[in-house]
Amino acid sequence: MNEMSEDQVKSIPRKKQIRIALRNCGVIDPERIEEYIEKDGYFSLGRILTELSPEETIRIVKESGLRGRGGAGFPTGLKWEFALKNKSDQKYVVCNADEGDPGAFMDRSILEGDPHSVLEAMAICGYAIGADTGYIYIRAEYPLAIERLKTAITQAREYGFLGKAIFGTKFNFDIFLKYGAGAFVCGEETALIHSMEGRRGEPSLKPPFPAESGYLGKPTNVNNVETFANIPVIFQKGPEWFRGIGTDKSKGTKVFALAGKVNNVGLIEVPMGTTIREVIFEIGGGIREGKKFKAVQTGGPSGGCLTEKHLDTPIDYENLIACGSMMGSGGMIVMDEDDCMVSVARFFLDFTVEESCGKCAPCRIGNKRLYELLDRICKGKGEMEDLDRLKNLSIVIKDTSLCGLGQSSPNPVLSTMDNFYDEYISHVVDKKCPSGVCRDLLEYFIVEENCVGCTACARACPVGAISGERKEPHVINPEICIKCGACMEKCKFDAVILR
């Protein structure tokens, strides 16, 4: 699901979509700066440098209502203002391109398809906060994005959009790349900065915020790729235009990586306020093979699973949190009736256990214990008190963890427990997996109507678990059955099923 060609991007219905961050992706040749300029690229930078003061620049960003697209949704203009107000001989602009959510690739697509929009935005930010150096922290696993960025930076320097005295003004700004080694937690801004400094990629306590003491102890403004990609357009079309899109508190659009059991998978960009139903059933084309929608996981591995009852919720930062999930960087994984929600929670915990940095105890040990509990439940070893423990642990991990990773990693557990408690009960009390996913909880069963009584299964069974008269329906004794599957293999009438 990580790979998607530009053709695929185009094939997703445009209905309901507005492309701002992705406006140039698949439209221009990203390796030719001329094509970006043709789309009014670098005009915003030029106008800002020659006509606006840093304060005015920030005022426009604030007026647009743009909020951080990396997940937390902090107002971008405000963040810039903090960095501007902290006086220092040196400041930095950092672009967070450490995209780490499984299945999410919006940042990669922007960097591969429209690298100049990010460069332009970073230069604008540099002017606004008083920085002359920008870094793009990009994961080394994005070789094409890195290549295109390098090309773009070289071209921008040639055209004088980066370097000394940009647009003939006194403003100097240049951009360099820093490579990440693929740690999820380095998407957290303090961890990212530590990694840039060559230190262990783990978060530290805030305050101090990067705007006060960031890269090398200097005021630093960190924004996500998608956030930056919105900036040049805001200046082209005006903050009023941008503010006109979206909901009361969340303006503009959001790119989602739609994945899972929907007919159309891939990147979509919709105005804030679009409902989940519109995304899944109109843009996504509904559930595959006509199956029944069960849940949608938003916000990446530490988001929550939303259900039928949330389908008409307009997507914005506040609404998703109120539902027990979050915006995150825009992952959206759709699940149908065949998905087991306990397994889903276990899957995401597996990811967060792997990606925890280990600095704080609740995240380091707590997530591991959550995973172990979920694994027990999936294997039919769970007890009712495990559910209480699961819940308490989840709440404490959220309440006590140091950074956003641990503060949100129990979301998949809590949201599935809230919305699919009956599935947990089935696993724990009935030792059944209603979706037929958890192998340890499945049993081989002979469907009476299909069984012709050929006895092939009984003869194949190594432990004598199958009984029945010739030409009469046979029965498997689950007490004796060792789940080897020999009966199912032998049956020519599809009478043996797993349930």
């Binding site: 990606e355 600095k359 704080c360």
Partner: protein, 589 residues
């Protein structure tokens, strides 16, 4: 000032104060595990990692770590709400779920901060323990320190000491998540890392993850071998701290009681490293005056400043990190090693015992001494001058095992001749002491005059970096003092860049000098204990009849009978050493 409400108490605290510190004002002691603040020494560890100190702040979404959250005007804090207590206990249960349960036999038992916290929070059960995986790591044994990382709780105190304070950089967090531990780069063993064995990681480790290599068994075996003459030497800082292991107030001097206890333990001769400290002054002082005279005479070849060389952690540090400066420190061996070579030559001959039949045990506040006594250059035919080095803590264990009540013990006197010492030898135990002792002797030899005032107050104190000037009869002698290797590094960088203004520099690896050594009773984060020990050391100095090394009659006798004069050929063979470039070892895994 900021007004806050904490557990119903209205308090006013300076802006910037943490919730944790503010709570102390109203005698509320918020439990904390990773947090450590050695005030006055400028050593602070607060990664905010253990999350035991969390509190509820009204209006805040999640719980706040009190150790690192500054108060704000009007803040309402609860340190003991149901939500907080549940979170704190749950986090503690989590930490314990990944910690071995061998408390009964753990080296840290009774001194373990984690154990104390479990008691304090009343943890009686660790839910799900039977199916909880434990993170494990291989055991790493070095000449001085054992790393048993199964017991590491990632408090990162050792890392702070090793990197921020010592700038040694041997320990860092490695691996991710559940398998994160603190280890040398590339997961080398400590022995192959740039570790100096200063033992400050051990001194602050809250659990049994970092402990000293225990040699008490070897000592008992030697004492029980009738063929051996067992000689013991005790370092100056030990007497100022040993009492703490027996519940005595920090800063209580137990010199006489310790001597009696050692005699009860069965040592044939109870001697004093202070004697060797006086000897060090004779050698180092002579070397210093020699270099100084040449320097003042305009000799451009001579290396200045001279650096002290009695701290083995410091010696390891420059061998690993500044090998290009290895010709600058004094060639004088440390007091421990001077004692060993004199005991096994001069004294052994005197009492007619063969070298092979003598065992020299040292009681040291230090873990680097364990490594130092195993250095090849301090061996004769493969037999070390000092056979066994044990820490103050290990001595306490020996005394307890022998059913001795140190507190009630009567005072004993050191044996002669190697037990006689001066006040100058005693102050070796604290930062600034070695250079003060050297100054007392060098002044009198250089000027030919008797000191009017023996106490050089300008050389004392707890600041990490100090400088002072001493008037040597019109000649101004500039002295630099550093304790903590990070502070030492600053002086060394000055020397490297040719900017050093000093004639002589004293360096001690540990905070406060030997009194804060890695082998001392654990301070549990209370820096005032170190201050109390330093006070005791100076008290012992004041109480001494003789306070200048060159006036020690048994030192004079040693030179007259055996060594000739300081820096003689014999003195060179027995009392001096040379240093090695060990930097390359870092890359030889």
């Amino acid at each position: 000032m900021v007004n806050i409400t904490l557990d119903g108490n209205h308090i006013e605290v300076p802006a910037g104060t943490t919730i944790y510190e503010s709570a102390k004002q109203v005698h509320i002691d918020i439990p904390a595990l990773c947090y450590m603040d050695l005030k006055d020494l400028n050593i602070r560890n607060r990664p905010g990692g253990c999350r035991i100190c969390v509190v509820e702040v009204e209006g805040r979404r999640n719980l706040a770590p009190s150790c690192s959250t500054a108060v704000e005007e009007g803040m309402v804090v609860k340190t003991n709400s149901v939500r907080v207590i549940n979170a704190r206990r749950t986090v503690m249960e989590l930490i314990l779920s990944d910690h071995p349960k061998d408390c009964l036999t753990c080296a840290k038992s009774g001194q373990c901060d984690l154990q104390q916290m479990a008691i304090r929070l009343g943890i009686r059960d660790i839910p799900g323990q039977e199916y909880a995986e434990m993170s494990t790591y291989r055991l790493d044994t070095s000449p001085s320190i054992i790393r048993e990382l199964d017991k590491c709780i990632m408090c990162r105190r050792c890392e702070t000491m090793c990197n921020d304070f010592q700038t040694v950089g041997a320990l860092h967090a490695i691996n991710r998540g559940f398998y994160a531990v603190v280890a040398p780069a590339f997961e080398m063993n400590l022995e192959h890392s740039p570790c100096t064995y200063c033992g400050q990681c051990v001194a602050v480790c809250p659990t049994g993850a970092l402990t000293e290599v225990d040699h008490t068994g070897k000592v008992i075996a030697a004492l029980n071998d009738p063929a051996k003459t067992v000689v013991v030497q005790t370092a100056p800082a030990v007497r100022a701290a040993l009492g703490e292991e027996f519940g005595m107030k920090p800063g209580t001097l137990v010199t006489g009681k310790m001597v009696t206890a050692l005699r009860h333990l069965g040592f044939n001769y109870v001697f004093d490293t202070d004697f060797a400290a006086d000897l060090t002054i004779m050698e180092e002082g002579t070397e210093f005056l020699g270099r100084l005279t040449r320097f003042l005479d305009g000799d451009t070849e001579v290396q200045m400043p001279i650096l002290t060389s009695c701290c083995p952690g410091w010696v390891n540090f420059f061998e690993h990190h500044f090998p290009e400066l290895k010709d600058i420190p004094s060639t004088a061996r440390s007091p421990q090693q001077m004692f060993g070579s004199v005991a096994k030559s001069y004294f052994a001959e005197k009492i007619g015992v063969e070298r092979k039949d003598m065992v020299v045990v040292s009681i040291m506040p230090c873990l680097a001494k364990k490594y130092e006594c195993q250095r090849e250059e301090f061996m004769v035919d493969g037999v070390p001058d000092v056979d066994i080095s044990i820490s103050t803590r290990e001595l306490a264990h020996l005394i307890k095992q022998a059913n001795l009540d140190l507190v009630e013990m009567t005072d004993g006197d050191f044996d002669l001749p190697l037990g006689e010492s001066t006040g100058a030898g005693v102050i070796f135990g604290t930062t600034g002491g070695v250079i003060e002792a050297a100054t007392r002797t060098a002044y009198e030899i250089y000027t030919g005059k008797t000191l009017e005032k023996i106490d050089f107050e300008q050389l004392r104190g707890m600041d990490g970096l100090r400088s002072a000037t001493v008037d040597f009869g019109g000649q101004e002698i500039r002295i630099g003092i550093a304790h903590g290797l990070g502070n030492a590094r600053k002086l060394l960088e000055e020397i490297k860049s040719g900017k050093s203004q000093y004639h002589a520099i004293e360096i001690m690896a540990c905070p406060g000098g030997c009194i804060g050594g890695g082998g001392q009773p654990l301070h549990h984060g209370d820096a005032s204990i170190l201050q109390a020990r330093a006070k005791a050391i100076y008290e012992e100095d004041r109480n001494k009849k003789i306070r200048k090394s060159h006036e020690n009659p048994f030192i004079q006798q040693l030179y007259a009978d055996y060594l000739g004069e300081p820096f003689s050929e014999k003195a060179h063979a027995l009392l001096h050493t040379h240093y090695f470039d060990r930097r390359k070892r870092v890359f030889q895994i």
